[in-house]
Symmetry: C2
Subunit: 388 residues, 2 copies
C-alpha cells in the first residue's frame, strides 16, 4: 500500500521543492505523461502527492540532490534559494539542470543579480553593497533618503527588506535584517506609480516565448492582484518587454522566468528583480493563455517546442488567497466561491493556514480587467483561511 | 523514499480504477487541494502517480473496496464494470459512493439499462433478451435483419458487440460473444446518419449542468473524433438535450455521465447507451468549457456547486490517439505535434502501447469545427504510438 511509481515511458522531471509552484508545474507535466519526482525538506507540501518518488532531504546538500537526479532526466527548481555551488555538483556529475547553476548563481545573490543586469545596460535603481551601518549613511549622501536595505540572499515577499527613511532608522533595519551576520546591499527607493511584471520562457533549444505584460499590485510586499494585460501605453509595453527580454538573456535563463519591474511617474521602466522560475505574476496564464507558464516551463526544460502565450480572453485577473489566521488549509466560504460564475479556484493543499501564507489563488476572465477583477475579488472576499 | 501522502485538510476522493479517466479527474481534484486515493488491479496506470495512497486489489471484492473507502470521504468510479452488489456493501457500511450502487446496477447490465430507459418513455432501438441461438431467429422475425447482438455486461469500445446480417452469421456471433457462458441481448440495428453525445453532470445536491451537444465519430467501434458543438438543427439539439436529461434522471445519476445517441435520417434521436462516468466524448471540455466534465464531476460528488458548462470558444475538436503498434507509451512525433499552434496534447502515461489502446488525445479550438478539426487531425497524424 505504499507508493513509489514511475510510468516508465515518459520523461522524468526532478523538482527541487514541493510547494505550490512545483505542484502547478507537475500538473502540467503529468498531462504530457511525464513522471515527477520531488526533493523537499519535509514530507508535507502541495506537490508531494503528485510525485512518483519523494525524497526528504536538504536541498543544499549535493548528496541529497544527487538522489533526486538519479531518477530524473532533467532537474528543475521551484525557488532560487538552492545553493548554486551545490547545484553545480549535479552538472559536474553529468546531470541535466535547467535553469543552470550559473543562472541561479547570478540571481540568488541579489547584489550580483543587479550587477549582472547593470552590466547588460538595463535600467535599475542605483544600488551598492554595504558592510556596516556607517556605509548606509554614506550611500544616503549619494542616493538620498529613503533607502531600501535588502539581504543579498533568501529574501522574498518582503522578507529581507527594510525601508530606511533617515539615519535614526538604520539601527532598527540593521537588527531586522541581522546585518551582523548577513550580507546586505542598499538601493535607492524607487517612487513607482505601478508595478509591472512579465513571464518569459526560454527553451534549452533557444526558442523564446514572451507572455503579455501585466500589472501586479502588492500588499504588505506580497503579490496580491495581477491584472492581465497591463493597461499602459504601447510604448511602455514595448519598452518593458524589451527590458525583460534582455534581462533573461543577461542571466542565461532557461525555463519560465518572472521579471518584476517598476513604472515611474515619468513613464520610465526599471527592473525591480527577476525570479529564475515560474512566478506568481504568471498564475493567470493557466486559464487565460493558450499555454500556461507551467506547461511552457516543462516544454522548455525538456527541449520541446514552446506553446503559444496568446491570451484566450481579452482580460484576466488573479487574486492571491493568503492565510488570515491559523487553521486548516481548506478555506471557509469555498462553496460560496465555487457558486460564483466564471471563478477558477485553486487551493494549494497546504496542511495549515498561517497569517500571510499563500494558500491558493483565484482567477477570473473577462472582457476588461475591471470586469474580471470584480469577479475574482468577490470570490477572494468570501474565501477565508484560518477558521471562520 | 516511499510515498504515502495525504494533505490532511482537503477532501479525500477514492477512485475505483486508475486509468486515464481517473487521471483527468484527479488532475481537477488536485487543483482544489483534494487528496486522491486509488484502488486498481495492478500497480501501473495513468492515475497511479497522482494518488496519495494506492491500493492494489480486486474491485469486485468488498474487502478491497473497503480498504479504499476507509481513506475516502467519497468514493467514485472510472468504469461501470465494478459489481453493483459489491458497491452496495460500501453503502451498507456507511460509506459515501457516487454514482450510487443502484445507478451502477441500472447501467452495468445493458439490458436492464435499456429497460430502465424504456420505462422512462425514452426512444430506443427495439431490444430483447436472448438465451439461445434460436431466439435470435425469433427476434429477427420481429425486428428484421441486421441485428446487433451484445453482451449484457462488460462491453465497451465494440468489445462485446456483433452485428448479424442473416441467420448464417449467428454461430460466429455466438462464438465471438461466448453466448454459452455470457448473457446476451439483441437490438435492432439503427441505420443512423450520425452519432451524438452529451455530458450531463448531476450534483448530489440536485443541481444539473448540461454540456453542449457534440457529434462523435467512431472508427472500429472506438470513439475517434468529437466535434463540439454538433452542427444540427435547433430542434434536434433541443430534443437530444431533453432526452439526455431525462435519461440521467431515470438512472438516478450523480456525477458526470456520458449519453450516446443516434441521429436517424428522419431526424429522430434515439439513445444508444449511457456511461455512468466521465466520458471520452467530453474530453474536449478540458480546454473548451469554462468548467470541464472532470472538475464538475469532482464538484458533484463532493456536493459543491457546479461550474459553468459554457464553451469558451466557438468550436473545439478532439481526436483520440490510439496505439498503432506495440511499443512505448510515449509517442513518436511528439515534438512535431507540440510545435503546431493551438494543439493541446494529452498523453495518458501508459507504460506500453498496444494496437487500438487509448494512449492519449489531442484537442484544438477554433472558430468552426472544420477549422479546429484540421488542426487536431494534423497533430494526431504525426503522433504515433508503437515505435516508428
Amino acid at each position: 500500500m505504499s507508493k513509489e511509481t514511475e510510468n516508465k515511458s515518459g520523461k522524468r522531471i526532478g523538482i527541487v521543492g514541493g510547494g505550490q509552484l512545483a505542484k502547478m508545474t507537475a500538473l502540467s507535466a503529468l498531462e504530457f505523461g511525464c513522471d515527477i519526482h520531488i526533493l523537499e525538506r519535509k514530507p508535507e507540501g502541495p506537490a508531494m502527492n503528485l510525485a512518483g518518488k519523494t525524497f526528504i532531504g536538504d536541498w543544499d546538500n549535493p548528496d541529497d540532490l544527487m538522489k533526486l537526479a538519479e531518477h530524473a532526466d532533467v532537474i528543475t527548481l521551484e525557488n532560487e534559494f538552492v545553493d548554486a555551488n551545490s547545484l553545480a555538483e549535479l552538472e559536474k556529475a553529468g546531470h541535466t539542470l535547467f535553469p543552470t547553476s550559473k543562472s541561479i548563481g547570478l540571481v540568488q545573490d541579489k547584489y550580483i543579480q543587479k550587477q549582472t543586469l547593470q552590466e547588460a545596460g538595463l535600467p535599475l535603481s542605483p544600488f551598492r553593497a554595504i558592510e556596516s551601518r556607517e556605509e548606509i549613511i554614506e550611500v544616503a549622501k549619494e542616493f538620498n533618503w529613503p533607502l531600501v536595505i535588502k539581504t543579498r540572499r533568501n529574501g522574498y515577499d518582503g522578507k529581507g527588506n527594510a525601508t530606511v527613511n533617515s539615519e535614526s532608522e538604520i539601527d532598527a533595519a540593521w537588527e531586522k535584517l541581522d546585518g551582523d551576520n548577513r550580507t546586505l546591499y542598499a538601493e535607492a527607493f524607487c517612487p513607482f506609480v505601478s508595478e509591472l511584471a512579465i513571464i518569459i520562457t526560454t527553451s534549452r533549444n533557444g526558442e523564446v516565448a514572451t507572455y503579455p505584460l501585466v500589472e501586479s499590485v502588492q500588499k504588505d510586499h506580497i503579490c496580491h492582484i495581477v491584472r492581465a494585460p497591463a493597461v499602459v501605453s504601447d510604448s511602455i509595453t514595448e519598452n518593458a518587454i524589451n527590458i525583460a527580454q534582455r534581462a533573461v538573456v543577461a542571466i542565461g535563463a532557461i525555463g519560465s522566468f518572472g521579471i518584476e519591474m517598476f513604472l515611474t511617474k515619468d513613464g520610465e521602466v526599471i527592473i525591480n528583480e527577476l525570479a529564475p522560475r515560474v512566478h506568481n505574476s504568471g498564475h493567470y496564464t493557466i486559464e487565460a493563455c493558450e499555454c500556461s507558464q507551467f506547461e511552457n516551463h516543462v516544454r522548455a526544460v525538456l527541449g520541446w517546442p514552446l506553446g503559444s502565450t496568446k491570451m484566450v480572453t481579452p482580460a484576466a485577473v488573479m487574486v492571491n488567497l493568503l492565510g488570515q489566521g491559523h487553521g486548516s488549509g481548506q478555506p471557509a466560504g469555498f462553496d460560496e466561491a465555487l457558486a460564483m460564475p466564471g471563478v477558477h479556484v485553486h487551493i494549494y493543499g497546504k496542511e495549515l493556514s498561517m497569517p500571510g501564507r499563500k494558500m491558493g489563488h483565484v482567477t477570473a476572465l473577462g472582457e476588461t480587467t475591471a470586469e474580471a477583477e470584480k469577479i475574482a475579488q468577490a470570490a477572494a472576499d468570501v474565501l477565508y483561511f484560518g477558521v471562520k
